[in-house]
Symmetry: C2
Subunit: 506 residues, 2 copies
């Protein structure tokens, strides 16, 4: 895989000097067009062998192009805010907006390679990390991002010579590499695992470019030209709309969905309600104060028919708790900054730190509900969203975030009655809009969308709880009880894992 | 100051139960109107004696109102990201957007009171902190924010009884207070310094409300009513526009400004330029790698006439450096999220961590330049901006951030020539727009604005450097040299301070 990057590519100074001016102009043109159109972001990943000119190349790109439109990001030590959240959070928060270019030094690949070379983990986890990177990049590309992946290569001999000369250079000797590149074994391992990474993650939508790093003219020109061609071809593509080749999701032949299996007559009388509510609220308060919560975070997703009582249920959950421990994210139309980012970005930014609890009042499931039904995104977009969402939630779960999802279901008649009440009571009139009546007209389409959503995203990692919400009391207690059970199960599970881990070490 | 909060205010349960429903409805109404209009944010500061019901009251407000529109923020331990920036950064990043309500537990007042009670500093620094809080609140209010400041009070006897009962309550005993409230001396000090805070920071635009905390009914109703009245009166105010009583800034009688004193014929020939450029670039690279930089951050502000060569100068600065160390913030029209915040918010979010360097390509000075000249804000807004900006920069300087500000000046004829070139050269055509020609028509108005800006914001803390930029070479070298001098001066200054500090301790 690296053979042709050890054959001594070189460009003489004269050729280089002759070619650079035109390349620079074209890059600047492309960069300004990128900003003008602001249709997609550009992500440049910089990886490879130490001393192969990674830093120098990025520096040169900043000179050639307009550095005001480039964000160079390094990911060294995680900060404590990053450590308290799933690993991908630090990358999400640094994604460039549409129209801008982000250069990621020390990205997800460096992190996994560091870990593997230092034997922090074995191939199993390494392969998981590789697969995770693939999913992330696929999603980013599907969202329109243009990704360049550069691997700067040197043969072992070349590297040793280069490190020697860097060491003698007073401007560079201060830099201490995190991997001990002086050791011959490090190089071998890095190349071996690097090959595995490149093999598995070079894809049509985000291929790797291996650049021989010995000759500065060659590597600069090579990178510049790849960037230019990629930028130009993406800018000239008439649209980013992907045509979906997937057949539309069909209804069940008998039109039955999971929602039909709910017993909508479930209810609680007032006394039972008050007793159970208080019990479950106290239980929730206790669980969130539990020491074991320090290893976890809690995310509760509330979706449901309009007027199904999401707000009331959320208030009953909140009422149990110290307001310093939770936050509630009402999800409405995305802001301008959110629209300039991949779909899931606006949810990633609100993922709670360990020990905390976030309630999403509507959520990322908007993609497969309102956006699907109203046609705000293409079928290809919402069809791929199921997989993206499952992947997102799996990442949360892996990091100890407990994800609990509620669909609050009411029947059509109950909704009508509640709409009418809302229109009459002054302090509820904010809760009813024209949109609500319009959505009601699309009752069946929403119903089908909910069925598909639950079928495709109710997973072992984060299952859906359908809540019969014709009776508000029943719904509220069920929500609280479900949260409590989820917390207890998660606590038990991680205790068992800890015990197993300790045993394994003995 | 606390006398009338020790007289045993109480409300019986019957009265409470009778009053709450109407209060709740009215609060909900006000809250939804707040969101609907989204004209200003609401900031609620919670302070006072331990055990006086602060947490309980906030909890209750979350129950009474819609918790989805309330953000409760705690400020305990600073995270490492916060510790690397000026102290106020953590508050700025948590400000609620227009239309929302932020409840700040553990805000700036708690931080200063903690410090003073624990004798981490003396009255001098305490008073500085008090004055800082005042300036912050004044600015927030001028930007439209509605601020409520609640001080929950208990007499010493009441507090002791309350702490005892909390200790016996299994739901509360886990909470360890950061101040050791058990000690009688702590209470005395806290009340003493608290009074000083209240005395100095109770202002017409943001008064303190002292609430006796013994009786839950009383304190809840009191807080609820104060909130309601404040919200309603702010919502009913027809506009937030403040009429300025200040006479417009007059020109000097002879119409001379500082810009007239520049020798615009300054220039460098090519050889001198190249030699000096390389020298200054190497010097800058060295200084930013200097160990002493770890205690500092660097902020460079670039303002100037259109086509004065800001971009080119910034590129020459960037070219000296490792792109991982700096970032460039191009300042254009604010985004939606930025418009929902006080003016300075969008600059605070980009303030570099210690060791880093941020270049602002245009800056907060837009307020007193383009916004003033084009009438994008009221005279009152830009007139108060001079003071706000000086305060902002002083906060940066106090935290070790070195602020260097450049005005790149060209004459009118040079600008015309550069505009014409830009229109002709393809890769420069992005750099010229209709706006540029329009701004040129207002040359004199901008000139006056620049004069006022420099007069009012060139301070010991962060002075302006006027750069004669008719000759680009001269300008670029002057920019680099000025940065280098500023870094050296700052390093020297903090070394001297350190030495003095060490001597003082001996």
């Amino acid at each position: 895989m690296f053979e042709s990057a050890e054959i001594g590519h070189a460009i003489d100074k004269k050729t280089f000097d002759a070619e650079v001016p035109a390349l620079r102009e074209a890059l600047l043109e492309a960069q300004f067009e990128l900003r003008q159109k602001a249709r997609f972001p550009v992500i440049v990943l910089i990886n490879g062998i130490e001393g192969a000119g990674k830093g120098e190349t990025v520096k040169l790109l900043n000179e050639w192009m307009d550095p005001r439109l480039i964000e160079v990001r390094t990911f060294d030590q995680q900060t404590d805010e990053e450590l308290a959240r799933p690993p991908a959070w630090r990358y999400w928060r640094m994604l460039p907006a549409k129209g801008r270019m982000g250069v990621f030094f020390g990205n997800w690949y460096s992190q996994m390679l560091q870990g593997r070379v230092h034997e922090l983990f074995k191939d199993g986890r390494f392969d998981q990390a590789i697969a995770g990177a693939e999913r992330l990049e696929k999603m980013l590309c599907d969202e329109g991002a243009l990704i360049f992946k550069f691997w700067f290569h040197l043969s072992k001999k070349q590297m040793k010579a280069r490190l020697k000369s860097l060491q003698d250079d007073p401007l560079h000797s201060w830099r201490i590499s995190p991997l001990d590149w002086q050791q011959s074994e490090t190089y071998d391992k890095f190349v071996k695992y690097g090959e595995r990474v490149l093999r598995r993650t070079s894809r049509d939508y985000a291929p790797w470019h291996v650049i021989e790093g010995v000759d500065p003219h060659y590597r600069s020109l090579a990178v510049g030209k790849i960037l230019l061609e990629g930028l130009q071809s993406a800018l000239n593509r008439p649209t980013l709309e992907v045509e979906s080749h997937v057949a539309p999701l069909g209804e069940a032949v008998d039109k039955l969905t999971l929602l039909d299996s709910l017993d909508m007559s479930q209810q609680l009388d007032k006394d039972d309600y008050e007793e159970q509510l208080i019990t479950e609220q106290a239980r929730l308060a206790g669980l969130l104060r539990d020491k074991r919560m320090r290893k976890h975070a809690l995310v509760a997703v509330f979706e449901g028919n309009d007027a199904a009582g999401k707000g009331g249920a959320i208030r009953r959950v909140a009422a149990a708790l110290d307001p310093r421990q939770y936050s509630i994210v009402p999800v409405a139309a995305p802001t301008e900054e959110e629209r300039a980012q991949p779909y899931l970005w606006r949810f990633w930014r609100h993922i709670p730190a360990r020990g905390k609890f976030t309630v999403f009042d509507r959520s990322w499931y908007g993609r497969v509900l309102v956006e699907r039904v109203e046609g705000y995104c293409s079928p290809a977009d919402w069809l791929r969203a199921y997989g993206e969402i499952n992947d997102f939630e799996e990442q949360l779960e892996d990091a100890g975030v407990i994800v609990v999802k509620f669909w609050l279901a009411i029947d059509k008649q109950t909704q009508l009655e509640r709409f009418q009440v809302r229109e009459e009571i002054p302090f509820k009139r904010f809760k009813i809009t024209e949109d609500d009546w319009r959505n009601r007209d699309k009752w069946d389409a929403y119903r089908a969308a909910v069925g598909d959503m639950v079928d495709r995203t109710s997973t072992e990692v984060a299952s859906w709880t359908l809540v019969e919400a014709n009776d508000k009391r029943w719904a509220r207690v069920k929500v609280l009880r479900t949260l409590n059970r989820a917390l207890e199960e998660a606590f038990d599970k991680s205790e068992k894992k800890d015990r197993k881990g300790k045993k394994g070490k003995k």
